[in-house]
Amino acid sequence: MSADLAARGRNVTADFLADRAKFVRLETLRLTRICGAGHYSSTFSAAELFAALYYAHLRLNPAEPKWPDRDRFILSKGHAAIGLYPILADLGYFDPKLLDSYTRLGSPFGDHPDMKKIPGIDFSSGSLGHGLSIGLGMALAARVQKRPYRVYCMLGDGELAEGQIWEAAMAAGHFRLQGLVGIVDRNQLCIDGPTEEIMRVEPLADRFRSFGWDVQRIDGHDFTAILGALDGLKQAGDGRPQMIIADTIKGRGVARMELSLDWHVGNLVGQDYDDAFAEIEAGLKPSKVKEPVHG
């Protein structure tokens, strides 16, 4: 096992992580061009979170994808899988060339991730609202089997309208599953508009706290904040499950997509593709969109 991936809190630089987040965005552009429709903006909001989790934090062993003591990662917002596949390839779970088949007939790689077909995917997802229950089950299994792994579940903010999320949140608090870590990609938009107009999710931290969770709220594009939150996760204590609410910007990294409703699913062609590619290559600049107002 590569020792560096089997430990949490690995020593990587912010520059390295920024480069890997850039890689996620560029691969998302490339793969979307294969099928002509991709979830750009939901993936871009999670790019820094993906990079920090996979390159600095999760305990993994790509040579043994089903290592029983590995940390689990569930992408409950499965439509961002296009950003996760390149990371798994980069870490050695499978040959990166396989990604060229993305969405083509018989490919392992569809819009939503499939655990039966892709090494490194811990559970299939796509139907929003299920992921936290899956994570709950995995965390209960860790308790029964006395295994040290943690379960990380990335949730979209729009999917928080699904009732099953709150069934799982209630149960995780009840069972005191400290090993269950939720991460909300709080990118402010669902498909039809801002979450706070379509179906209000705030005050989100208070809501999870009232369900028995420990909550941190951070800037989800700032590696110092992300790593601080991940490093700050508790190993022992009162047993509360742990939620990280990551404030992000849907579409982050391509100015025209930032907090735009037009890019939940889209396809960049011609000069637009080249422009977006160049913009991502140049690296993240301070966003021009207004800071979200929560509460």
Binding site: M138, M170, A171
Partner: protein, 358 residues
């Protein structure tokens, strides 16, 4: 238990809901109440059998949704408290969490009323259990209309039709407690997800002991006959056998097949029955659309034509009533099944005679 002022029917319903009526009997020692031809098994074998299996298999965990008494999973909880999880009234979460546990190496049994495990949880069964091939065993008890006057919200007359369209899902129906034990034993190492449909846990006896020859996917012929085959399963097997006995007294010889596994279906047994007995009747405690009768029809449609009839609950919501009254109303008790079979057998016989004449 219901108080002394309650009507007998109300007491009955109370016992049905609470899973009481059998008291604290150990089913292993006192498997039945003697004295009647169709001996009543007092309560579920579910918790006890799973606890026995779990003694030998650390993968087994049991989940329920606030019905540990009604389904007797409390018998499991008493013996394996660390492997028992009550999810409260949150069935979708229970089924999906079971899938999460299965992905980490467990074989979870998730039990609640069929109305909620199968119908409410259908999407979780498809997306989280069947599609990823998780060995989750979703148990739907108090299926059909066995909840009687609790009404449609608590009935499951659609579960088989809905779940039968899910690829790779195994569906098995238990006829009684001994049968359930055999199903549970066979389920432990069965690949992929399963739906196990039970009656209300006080089902009259069909199998006097745990059937040793039980195989998932292999129909059981309980009685041979030459004039007609009745294909049934689950809660209708006892009444069908009783109907066959009555018909035998009238000179009509009926084969009875327990098609316990609805999926994958034992098509060979159906084709054999059609060619050897010349007529098929299906009997099911389910909406006539999409269940056992439909599954059998899908097999028969590609073979030689034989007289065939589906008998079940018509495509309607059933009225309020105690279970026994509902079975009588829909001719799903022994007398009703015998009457339906008599008509079909007579028609089949005259058809055969016409054939001989012409």
């Amino acid at each position: 238990m219901a108080d002394s002022r309650a009507t007998p029917q109300a007491q009955e319903q109370d016992a049905i809901f609470r899973g009481t009526g059998g008291g604290e009997l150990s089913l292993k020692d006192k498997a039945s109440v003697q004295g009647t031809p169709a001996r009543l098994l007092p309560a579920f074998a579910l918790g006890e059998e799973l606890a026995d299996l779990a003694d030998r298999d650390p993968r087994i965990v049991v989940l329920t949704a606030d019905l540990a008494s009604a389904n007797r999973t409390r018998d499991f909880k008493l013996r394996h408290p660390d492997r028992f999880f009550d999810f409260g009234i949150a069935e979708k979460n229970m089924i999906t969490a079971a899938a999460g546990m299965a992905s980490a190496g467990h074989v979870p049994y998730a039990a609640t009323f069929a109305a909620f495990s199968a119908i409410l949880g259908a999407e979780q069964i498809r997306t989280d259990c069947a599609y990823p091939r998780m060995p989750v065993r979703v148990i739907g008890h108090h299926s059909g209309m066995s909840m009687g006057f609790y009404g449609t919200s608590h009935h499951a007359l659609e579960d088989l039709g809905m779940l039968r369209t899910i690829a790779e899902l195994t569906i098995v129906c238990a006829a009684d407690a001994n049968h359930l034990r055999a199903i549970l034993r066979a389920s432990v190492d069965h690949p992929g997800a399963m739906y196990i449909r039970l009656g209300r846990g006080r089902d009259p006896e069909v199998y006097p002991e745990v059937p040793r020859d039980f195989r998932i996917g292999q129909a059981t012929t309980l009685r041979d006959g030459k004039d007609l085959t009745i294909i049934t399963n689950g809660t209708m097997v006892r009444a069908t056998l009783d109907a066959a006995v009555a018909l035998a007294g009238e000179g009509t010889s009926v084969r009875v097949i327990d098609m316990h596994t609805l999926k994958p279906l034992d098509a060979a047994a159906i084709r054999r029955a059609a060619s050897e007995t010349g007529a098929i009747l299906t009997v099911e405690e389910h909406n006539i659309t999409g269940g056992l009768g439909s599954a059998v029809a899908e097999v028969l449609v590609s073979g030689d034509r034989v007289p065939f009839q589906r008998h079940g609950v018509p495509d309607e919501f059933v009225p309020v009533g105690p279970p026994a009254a509902l079975y009588a109303h829909y001719r799903l008790d022994a007398a009703g099944i015998a009457a339906v079979a008599r008509e079909l057998a007579a028609g089949a016989k005259s058809g055969r005679e016409r054939k001989r004449v012409s």
